[in-house]
């Protein structure tokens, strides 16, 4: 991360050919955009097939995952795929039109000492013009991030909303014999252990700027809330009340944290300052109140309570203090996650001993079931653009981290095998 901070991603000040509106935005599952995703070519010096291949593979994975594109078979590409042309006058658009391509990804790379320079271009084949371009400079180890970043740019260019692929996912894994906090790319690459508590670490959440992670750890002999700065690795204990200090979530403005404490003898939602100072108690009920999830405006919290018997999803309006139950089906609903757009809340339901993921409008209408089939799907969290959900599942045996599109299609395991992985959280920024 530190190393990558030095990476420059300069927007090329090319003539303002903003023709975004000329490509229709289509939802996943509908008609897809035909894309020619070419391998990048050496700008100068020796070719490095490994770098070109990795850039291509990462780009290809992201384009597929988005569900917006149909990638043309590289075997059908004609001569222009082997020609380095980074401006619209240099591209032979006739060749790409012939193949039915609507957009075209081209580019080049060059090693400069130990640094890697990558040029990416996105062309509109139909209108024969450049849509957007970026140049990235970093180390060869940053090659995947460069491709993820340009995939995010492509989504922005085509739909108006940036992609989430260059952000990261925090999660819990027990491969060391203890549950510890880990970080990985959105495709599961570059996984990295962040804690060494040798205890039980649970349920991380990113600060909105992506620089801090909060989580619960049993290291002090009690489930206490910690904050970790990703840049320095420094840790601080934020909440250590007697009893539970769990399921903490940053307010979208980053200024406060909602969590469950049980100091009163009963699990209640409480508001903390980011320095750990107690602000105010949000619930006051004999029932169990856990799993808060903020609305994007920060004015409401979805949470789980058994105050009416079984665990259900409730929404608390922080201004009025009113609480409303929004899940009306099932007998066990849990882990709400408010979408970044604010229009839906994902949650899980236990039915027939298996958890599946559902979404519902914040007013409790229009419930939809997203997952089916064997195994549990738990702990859904949204990608920052609301296009995807990340969750844990034991459908292939051991627990792993999976992602899928917000409509439930395109389910993919991303975490490596060899440990039990759970409690994913998607950062809003890299």
């Amino acid at each position: 991360m530190r190393r990558f901070a030095t990476l420059l991603f300069a927007l090329l000040c090319l003539p303002a050919t903003s023709v975004m509106a000329q490509i229709e935005v289509r939802a996943p599952g509908q008609q897809t955009i035909a894309v020619a995703n070419t391998e990048l070519l050496p700008l100068s010096g020796f070719p490095s097939p490994a770098i070109a291949r990795e850039l291509h593979e990462v780009m290809s994975y992201d384009l597929d995952m988005s569900g917006l594109f149909r990638q043309l078979d590289p075997a059908s590409f004609l001569g222009d795929a082997k020609r380095l042309g980074l401006t619209s006058t240099q591209v032979d658009f006739n060749q790409w039109s012939l193949l039915g391509s609507e957009i075209l990804i081209k580019g080049g790379y060059r090693m400069q000492g130990d640094r890697l320079l990558v040029e990416f271009r996105l062309f509109d084949v139909i209108h024969r013009q450049l849509l957007t371009g970026r140049s990235y400079s970093g180390y060869p180890g940053d090659v995947r991030t460069m491709a993820h970043k340009f995939a995010d740019v492509i989504l922005k260019s085509v739909t108006g909303k940036e992609g989430p692929f260059s952000s990261r996912i925090a999660y819990i894994d027990n491969r060391t014999g203890h549950k510890e906090l880990y970080l990985m790319d959105t495709d599961g690459a570059n996984s990295l252990r962040l804690t060494d508590h040798r205890s039980i670490v649970l349920n991380p959440d990113f600060s909105p700027n992506g620089r801090e992670v909060i989580f619960t750890s049993y290291r002090p002999g009690n489930p206490d809330l910690y904050r970790k700065y990703l840049g320095t690795g420094q840790e601080a204990r934020l909440s250590f009340k007697k009893g539970l200090n769990i399921s903490a979530r940053f307010k979208p403005d980053g200024r406060e944290i909602a969590l469950t404490q049980s100091e009163s003898g009963n699990p209640e939602l409480v508001l903390l300052g980011t320095d750990g100072s107690q602000r105010r108690r949000l619930t006051n009920h004999w029932g169990i109140d856990v799993d808060p999830s903020w609305s994007p405006a920060g004015d409401k919290l979805a949470f789980v309570s058994d105050r009416q018997g079984n665990p259900h999803i409730f929404v608390l309006d922080l201004l009025s203090g009113q609480t409303k139950r929004i899940s009306n089906n099932g007998k066990y609903n849990a882990t709400p996650a408010w979408s970044p757009d604010g229009d839906r809340i994902a949650f899980t339901r236990l039915e027939g001993n298996v958890f599946d993921i559902y979404t519902i409008r914040p007013d409790g209408t229009d419930e939809r079931r997203l997952t089916f089939g064997p195994g549990n799907k738990e702990h859904p969290r949204w990608s920052p653009d609301g296009r995807f959900l990340v969750f844990s599942s034991d459908q292939d045996g051991g627990k792993g981290i999976y992602i899928m599109r917000a409509d439930g299609t395109g389910m993919q395991r991303i975490s490596a095998t060899g440990g039990q992985s759970q409690h994913p959280a998607w950062s809003r920024q890299r």
Partner: protein
């Protein structure tokens, strides 16, 4: 299949409890325990506790049919036995109450010991909800031991939710084993 599993595991559990009690009862002379009138009173408090919890806390008046003999029979135990709970419940079954009477006697006989009550859940349910539920189980256990005369300052609680199953298998028998409260002597 699964239902049969529950019934079997419950039967096994009951058998185990009875077997343990019989074994203890046979091995030790009645004189080994001082509990008579005091324990009868304790056992009565026990039944009251059940009613309070069933009506007030959960709103569901469910309670397992207790074995009166097991409840009032004086017991001597050499250690603290764990107790088990029903799914998504933290009220104490009559078996659990009987075990807690024994545990309370043990604690009264070993008044220098401090005990941490650890609440656990089976793996079904959300992790955070289960942390809260595990705490409820530990607190219900603590309250009960207090009602049986164990000093409050000797008892602390912690919940591990579904984090440390006794049996990691995914079946009803394992789930029944994992929904529990355990007692750890604090050195």
């Amino acid at each position: 299949m699964k239902r049969a599993g529950v019934r079997n595991s419950m039967q096994v559990l009951l058998l185990m409890v009875f077997a343990a009690m019989l074994a203890v009862g046979c091995a030790k002379k009645p004189a080994a325990t001082t509990a008579t009138a005091a324990d009868q009173a304790g056992a009565q408090q026990v039944t009251q506790g059940v009613e309070e919890m069933g009506a007030g806390e959960t709103g569901i008046g469910e309670g397992m049919v207790g074995d009166e003999n097991a409840m009032s029979m004086p017991q001597a135990v050499s250690s603290l036995e764990r107790i088990y709970f029903n799914f998504d419940r933290y009220d104490l079954s009559s078996e659990a109450q009987a075990i807690l009477v024994n545990n309370a006697n043990y604690l009264k006989a070993n008044s220098d010991q401090k005990v941490r009550i650890e609440g656990y859940c089976d793996e079904r349910g959300s992790d955070e909800y289960n942390l809260a539920l595990g705490e409820r189980r530990a607190l219900a256990t603590q309250k009960y031991l207090e009602s049986l005369g164990v000093a409050k300052d000797r008892l602390s609680v912690i919940s591990y939710g579904e984090e440390m199953p006794l049996d990691p298998a995914q079946n009803e028998a394992a789930y029944a084993m994992n929904r529990r409260a355990e007692f750890k002597i604090i050195p």
